[in-house]
């Protein structure tokens, strides 16, 4: 077991045919469903908190099927950073945009009256729902998962700077 741990890639369990096939079928559907939930939150129950969580869960599913380390390598750090930080930036940006138009923080009707966007209130809300909260929640769910999965390494080195050589200690010892 120690050998398969250290390589991390020839793990028989991460290549379980059942899980791999099922996840290959289900993951696109989960992602679509998360996006549906995010985009359709205005008129039916649902919304960005739920949709973002489901989008994040899709990555968790992939990580269980393909192994956590390969998924970590596949998912660039900059993607997650831009998800989380970009979400906050969009949220603040929409709020500051209404202030720049002469209103209060997140006073959406100014998009309608000042910029002439039809249904400005609705689209302003959709902007912070889709662009803001969903991205933050999805990014944070993925972050929490990978951080907890990595556990604590006293040296504090990050795996990303390492190449995928064989002496990479993937899992902290119990």
């Amino acid at each position: 077991m120690a050998d398969s741990r250290s390589t991390g890639y020839e793990d028989t369990y991460t290549e379980s045919q059942v899980i791999l096939t099922a996840v290959k079928v289900i993951a696109p559907f989960t992602l679509t469903y998360g996006m549906f939930m995010t985009l359709h939150g205005a008129d039916t129950p649902g919304g960005s908190f739920q949709g973002g969580a489901i989008i994040g869960v899709t990555v968790l599913m992939l990580a269980f099927a393909f192994g956590i380390e390969p998924t970590r390598q596949w998912l660039k750090n900059s993607v997650i950073v831009s998800l989380v930080a970009g979400g906050v930036a969009i949220f603040v940006g929409v709020g500051l945009a209404t202030m720049a138009l002469g209103g209060n923080f997140l006073q959406y009707e100014l998009f309608d009256t000042e910029l002439g966007i039809p249904d400005g209130t609705k689209w302003g809300m959709e902007a912070i729902e889709i662009g803001g909260i969903a991205l933050i929640v999805a990014g944070v769910v993925i972050t929490l998962f990978f951080a907890t999965a990595a556990g604590f390494t006293p040296e504090g080195r990050s795996y990303r700077t390492d190449s995928t050589d064989t002496d990479d200690e993937v899992i902290t010892d119990d």
């Binding site: 008129d43 039916t44 129950p45 919304g47 908190f49 969580a53 929640v137 944070v140 929490l144 951080a147 907890t148 556990g151 604590f152 006293p154 902290t172």
Partner: protein, 129 residues
């Protein structure tokens, strides 16, 4: 008495769940179980918020808070659950998982420093230092 309990079942459940969550945080020696207890306590509070938002008229439940697409809805169409407690609970659940995750990270850290998750052993280890 039975009538009182039967019509207030959600609040009764909430009180008992508060008790169970509190018991887990006090009595469990394992830190992970303590955190599960905190989570249980949280869900009891959420249940309280959801229960006060619920409405029914003559035993017929109202609707979920999706209003009809008219400018001036008739009041008979507005027998809907209150949206405000739902919003508070919605955000509280997401903040709750964030809190749980930070707690779990601390637990992982404590384990790597002291090699135990039991409260009593942890106390002894810390006393020896």
């Amino acid at each position: 008495m039975i009538e009182l309990l039967a019509t207030r079942y959600a609040y009764l459940l909430m009180f008992v769940l508060l008790g169970i969550g509190l018991y887990m945080t006090i009595a469990s020696q394992n830190l992970v179980k303590k955190l599960i207890g905190v989570n249980l306590f949280q869900t009891a509070i959420f249940l309280f918020f959801v229960a006060v938002a619920y409405v029914e008229v003559d035993g017929e439940p109202g609707g979920s808070p999706v209003v009809p697409a008219t400018e001036n809805p008739a009041s008979s169409d507005l027998i809907l659950a209150s949206p405000l407690p739902h919003v508070i609970v919605l955000t509280a659940i997401v903040v709750g998982i964030a809190l749980t995750a930070v707690g779990l990270a601390l637990i992982v850290r404590i384990y790597s420093e002291y090699g135990t998750l039991r409260e009593d052993t942890l106390r002894e280890v810390r006393a020896d230092e």
